[in-house]
Symmetry: C2
Subunit: 346 residues, 2 copies
């Protein structure tokens, strides 16, 4: 039986394939010129700073067979890391993958996981440059993503200024609402099961399973600035991996400022627009949409948001006091804080 | 109660400290200028290639409370990764740490783990530049180490030439013998418990718990070459993390060559010098000594091994056939193969 034929057996486990076979399978997802030594070699462009970020995803915490087919688990693990690169204004150089697997894990699961990672990476032309695999009781994926950025263009969290516009990419809350659907959690935003609702539900599930990190947005922004449509102004940024509300709060805390955010200006999936308390929780604290939250001068924000090619909307403003207020219909709907976000160990 | 006073409580768990408190504790081990954003920024020296390697260490597989106090677990996790940088001929830039922890894990354990990592890193002046922490059923540490190397000096595995000398640093087999002692495995090399044996045993345990990666050796080698004692010759290298025998076999396979190795020339702890089958297994396949195995021209090997400042010994030679033979007293003691090494999933 050939190696490829062995892999076709859907019941084959990691223990049966053996460590050498597993390594051979995983290496087939890496460029041949970077694997085979104790470490991988990469060549950053001259004058660029290196950007590095790590995320660990654990079975039952960040993904599960119930909500996340392995292809989607791989995609999301990559998306989470690339989103951190995007939040720094960087472009991607490569990722490493540290995989923990129980011996009875199906080889099929691992293969689909890697295909999901490779499919997400392929959009941005980023290679898997190395990794490690070891035995564990629980499946886990530790990814480190490497990127590069011109030093003067590296975005941080602590540079927001009073008067800056708060700009967001994409749409918020869909990933969490999709997860709720997958988990069978009751959602007050759906009442029946007509075909219109089913199509909205499918879209929410897609947003949970296949989020798109915003490296493309960063490139468009750089190109916009290079074309001379605007001087490079200072941008403060973070991704919305722990929720839009958490991101705004963290940006404000790091910069020593406050904010007012207009609930009705936040872009969100149609299904959440009722802005019921439950829908608002998805939008503010659902997380894992992997969009960007940026603070910039209002003039630049107006230019960016006015360009049809940018998915970007101004949703609020940085203020001098330290409160982060969500406003709706002229009043305060909520005061945002840190504790409402996702807590790993509670 | 102050934050520091809370940490003094030896019974405090991660769940009681909470995620924000845990992050505050872990960030205290990072330079203040690199943490606080979605990713860390590093500045490689101009013209250097980036070197990246990942290792995952799991409780019960790579360390355990029985054999590895948390300070040692942290030290060894760092040593394993820095050793991979050394095997590429690189110097260190920084590491990221992805930590998986059960909620009932004592904060004390995490603090000791980080102290162990920091103590090993401090020898080489390498910072912790980022990381992630998440809930899991089993403790695990995923480290990615970043280094740099001048492109023409990056060591690989596939460049060994027929006639090259095989040179090793340090001493081999001690880490595995120390682990056996910690596990209470019977060792035929010890017979009684006199004070002489106890001191040898303590040394083996130290070699298991506190291995020294060979970044210092790489720096000495570069300095030696720069001082003009030798032209830079081509060096092929790998570390002995999976055992000396495994390293030699892998180097030979990658380079399409064979080797003969003289058992009596291998540097090893005094306790293993009987070279009983059990002692030989420790030396060849014990692993985790984190020494370097290098192939180089015999003339360079003679110069290096003749310098008192280098802990380096020639133990064999690269040959034209594909067999890897361990010779003793003029005969073949063993043929080395891949299957004798550590298998994660068997």
């Amino acid at each position: 039986m050939t190696f490829a034929e062995r892999l076709d057996d859907p019941g084959l486990t990691i223990a049966e394939l053996g460590e050498q076979g597993l390594l051979r399978l995983l290496k087939s997802y890496c460029p041949t010129d970077v694997v085979g030594d104790d470490a991988a070699l990469l060549t950053p462009a001259p004058g660029q700073q290196l950007v590095v970020t790590t995320d660990v995803l654990v079975d039952g915490v960040h993904f599960s067979d119930r909500t996340t087919p392995p292809h989607s688990a791989g995609w999301r693990a990559v998306a989470a890391n690339l989103s951190d690169l995007a939040a720094m204004g960087a472009t991607g150089l490569g990722i490493t993958v540290g995989l923990s697997l129980p011996p009875n894990c199906p080889v099929f699961w691992v293969e689909q996981l890697y295909r999901g990672m490779a499919d997400c990476l392929a959009i941005y032309g980023i290679p898997i440059v190395g990794g490690d695999v070891c035995r564990a009781e629980q499946r886990a994926i530790a990814i480190t993503a490497l990127g590069q950025v011109e030093p003067q263009f590296a975005w941080q969290r602590k540079t927001a200024q009073v008067g800056d516009a708060i700009v967001v990419t994409g749409s918020h809350g869909g990933a969490r609402a999709g997860l709720a659907l997958l988990l069978g959690e009751p959602l007050d935003i759906f009442h029946g099961a007509d075909s219109g609702e089913r199509s909205l539900q499918d879209e929410l599930i897609r947003q949970h399973q296949y989020p798109r990190p915003r490296l493309d947005w960063v490139e468009s922004f750089r190109a916009f600035v290079r074309r001379g449509r605007s001087g490079e102004h200072w941008v403060t940024a973070m991704d919305s991996s722990d929720g839009l509300g958490d991101a705004i709060f963290q940006l404000c805390r790091a910069s020593g400022v406050g904010a007012k955010v207009f609930a009705d200006a936040i872009p969100m999936p149609q299904a959440l627009r009722s802005l019921s308390d439950q829908a608002l929780n998805c939008v503010l604290y659902g997380g894992e949409d992997f969009e960007l939250v940026l603070c910039m001068e209002p003039q630049l924000a107006a230019q960016i948001c006015g360009e049809p090619s940018f998915t970007a909307v101004t949703i609020g403003q940085i203020t001098a006091n330290s409160e982060v207020l969500l406003l709706q219909e002229g009043g305060i709907r909520r005061r945002l804080d840190l504790e409402s976000g996702f807590q790993h160990f509670s």
